[in-house]
């Protein structure tokens, strides 16, 4: 297993990581020959909580790349995100020409190189040379302990969700983040509060959020401006073609019957899960909302290029049926 990377500019990596940062303390980095995946999932119950999959074109971030492993040259690591970000910030502040990243077997606790004999612990070493104000050359090395994920159980958990039964997709305008701010006011009421997202192609595109507390209030917040809500032709499609179809802004050939109530779709999610995406929505150039029969997905592009995709999955809650209630 070998991982050797070098970069001069960590800006893209840093901004992507800081978008994922509020979600969880640990993330999984998956280095593949073409892509770097930054994955934030809950290790225990993957399906219950929102997960984020970022995929970055590895050649756009690093200028020297060497990845080799027995598993299709793919290396997956679990790492403390805050420490990684701290290191990247330190590198930014330094006067240096390049950051090197290596995967090392060595123990990070600095003892006399004791190997714990535990196959899963290693450290990710990030190092660079810095010339300080008194023109001393100082080499900095940061060793962050990582857990290498290689057994099948770990990998099972780490499967990118598939998009089945896509019902509606829409490109959200950049100003959409103000809806998040509005909904923030309801966050404090109850911890586990849920929110129902309603979308429809009728009325030249409708997207609304219903907040309700039994017997107390019912609030609907909706986007008044026009939305290009589309129904994809295929029931199931991968992220790539989905995004393309939205970005191309293909005019919808279907004629929408404004009286057809079956056009209305809705999904219920946790308000907290939805709100956590606010930073991502605020910073990304392109945001596409996808509603399937069971999930709600925010598919984002960080900048104008295709280099960084951030996909935020929220699994919907089944509408409470009377027996559960």
């Amino acid at each position: 297993m070998k991982l050797k990377l070098r970069t001069q500019n960590t800006e893209t990596l840093k901004s992507t990581l800081s978008l994922v940062n509020p979600l969880r303390k640990f993330i999984v980095l998956r280095f593949c020959p073409e892509k770097l995946y930054i994955i934030s999932v809950n290790g225990q119950s993957v399906t219950q909580e929102p997960q984020v999959w970022c995929n970055l074109k590895i050649s756009s971030i690093f200028d020297q790349i060497e990845i080799s492993s027995l598993r299709d040259d793919t290396i997956s690591l679990e790492i403390n995100l805050e420490l990684l970000l701290q290191t990247l910030r330190n590198f930014d502040r330094a006067n240096s020409d390049g950051l090197n990243i290596r995967l090392q077997r060595k123990d990070s606790s600095g003892g006399s190189g004791t190997n714990t004999g535990n196959g899963r612990t290693a450290s990710l070493a990030l190092f660079y040379a810095n010339v300080n104000a008194n023109s001393n050359t100082i080499n900095h090395t940061f060793r962050i302990p990582v857990k290498i994920l290689k057994n099948t159980h770990d990998m099972m958990l780490l499967k990118e969700p598939e998009l089945n039964d896509v019902q509606l997709i829409m490109k959200l305008p950049n100003e959409f983040v103000s809806i998040y701010k509005r909904m923030d006011k309801f966050k404090k009421t109850t911890n586990n509060e849920i929110i129902t997202i309603k979308a429809s192609r009728r009325q030249s595109g409708f997207l609304g959020f219903v907040l309700e507390e039994e017997g107390k209030y019912r609030v609907t917040i909706s986007w008044n401006d026009k939305l290009n809500v589309q129904r994809p032709n295929l029931a199931s499609m991968d992220g790539e073609s989905l995004r393309m179809s939205v970005l191309r802004n293909t005019t919808n050939s279907d004629v929408v019957d404004d009286n057809d109530e079956s056009e209305d779709k809705e999904i219920t999610v946790r308000l907290k899960d939805w709100q956590m995406a606010s930073k991502i929505v605020a910073s990304c150039k392109t945001v596409v909302l996808v509603i399937t029969s069971r999930d709600c997905i925010l598919h984002c592009l960080l900048d104008d290029s295709d280099d960084v995709e951030i996909i935020y999955y929220i699994s919907g809650i089944r509408i409470r049926n009377p027996i559960d209630y």
Binding site: L83, Q86, S108, S109, T121, N136, N139, T141
Partner: protein, 526 residues
Amino acid sequence: MSFVGVLDSNSHKTMWSRAVMSLAAISDHIKFIITKQSLSLSAVNSAKTSHGEIIFNRSFFHDYYVDFSDILPEGYGQETDEQLNNDGVDSDSGSYSFLINSKHLATLFKNLDANNLDYICFKIYWSVSAPETMKYKFLIEIKTKKLIIKKYQTNYQPVFRNKVKVAQIYRQELQSTQEQEENTGSIVENRINHISIEHIIPKQFLDMIPATTEDFKIDVKNEKISFSGYTKQVLKDREYLKQPMSVTITLNLDELVSTNLSQLMSGEEPMKKCINYRLKDFRNFLNLIGSFSSTSVSEGDEYINLNKIDSGESFEILFKNPGDPVLFESQNNPHVFIQFIQLTAKDENTDAETTNRVSTEDPRKAKMALSLLGHTIHRIERVEEPVSRPIAVSQLPAPSQPLNIPRLHSNRPSGRLPDTRTSVVVPIHRTPEPSQNIPSSMEVEDFVTYRKESTPPSARRKRRLQEMSEPSRPTPRKNQKSAVADDTDYSDTDDETNRNENQNQASEKEISYGPTQLNNRPKSIF
């Protein structure tokens, strides 16, 4: 007045406050040592693994006055000849040492707004003839720019000076190491290693490492030196309990201001050294020297600034082997000298090797010299104790054993003397009971020392020295310690209250003592 120190300059006031805060972070007690040349503040942590000392030269003060004449014997000490030779200090170097609760000082000097203060003045009345209410008190007077004078006083506990000799020994050994290596051309075993480094390098380094980092390592190999901050990792069930990041900076030895590690002898391998110690107090030291240099820069004192740039704002590190102390010294300000000592961790692998090497000399002696001592309370039982002695003699079953008296006296079990004291009506103004300042902390209890009345002064000093040099000497049993404290305090009080009165009164009191002592005395004899 026996001691006066006045701080006038704003930067010096700030430095004083920083120094106090820095030492307060090490220990609950700060030791003051006043000599004619300097005022030193020091602190040892309770585990006795780190020691910080800041020496303010008398030139640091706007006004500095010390008068040792007629001084109270507790806390006052004179260097012996041996120490004098090593120090090269002139012969009349007396010193007065005492402990102050650092919390008291910290509350006073924390967030000190130096610009709004006119002066800070410290005063001690340590003369025997000083008024009772002024004795054993550290007086602080602060005048603000708004012409308000604030006066504070705190009790202190006189202690022995207990000079930490690590620096002195290391300096000597460094010199002999250098001489030997120059003569023989080969590396001396067990040498002292010396590094002088610009303080900005470790400072910037410490800014980068996570605040939770616990340990620090200095590693020398391949003509490079590296500093690492790390935390020992804790694993449980293959998961990290502690998830530490280690940060290392590496630089070539020639980037240092100076060092004796790079003298590569022909045919010899590059030197390999590695020491580990706790980061907390090292961080404290670096913050302190960092703040000292920044205060004078912000003052805009051109003259000092130039000097500083010349000296490169560096500090020195002296170290030996793992397990031995590491010494940090900084003298970036002409008036202040900062010295921190930190015990290093002993690597188990090299443990055997080290002990073998040391065993040629007397290991106990070597170790003792390098260890960090706790504080020793300096107590003196006065010779002229007019009341208790005649009675004690008369009460003894066998008057032919007067030599035993002092020992019996000091070993008296607790609970007796307070009774005695309450039967006396005299104590109007009592000496502040110093033991209140220092709650029964381990460091104090272990080293309680007390004086015998019958010992002649010269023998007394000799004994005191003995006790200082072998602090592990068995002290009285635990339940007797408090008795000793009570005892000593009682005799002090008695003595001082009586001094200003005449002998007649004393003989009157004799009678009032009688019954209590008569009843109790036989039981206390073993």
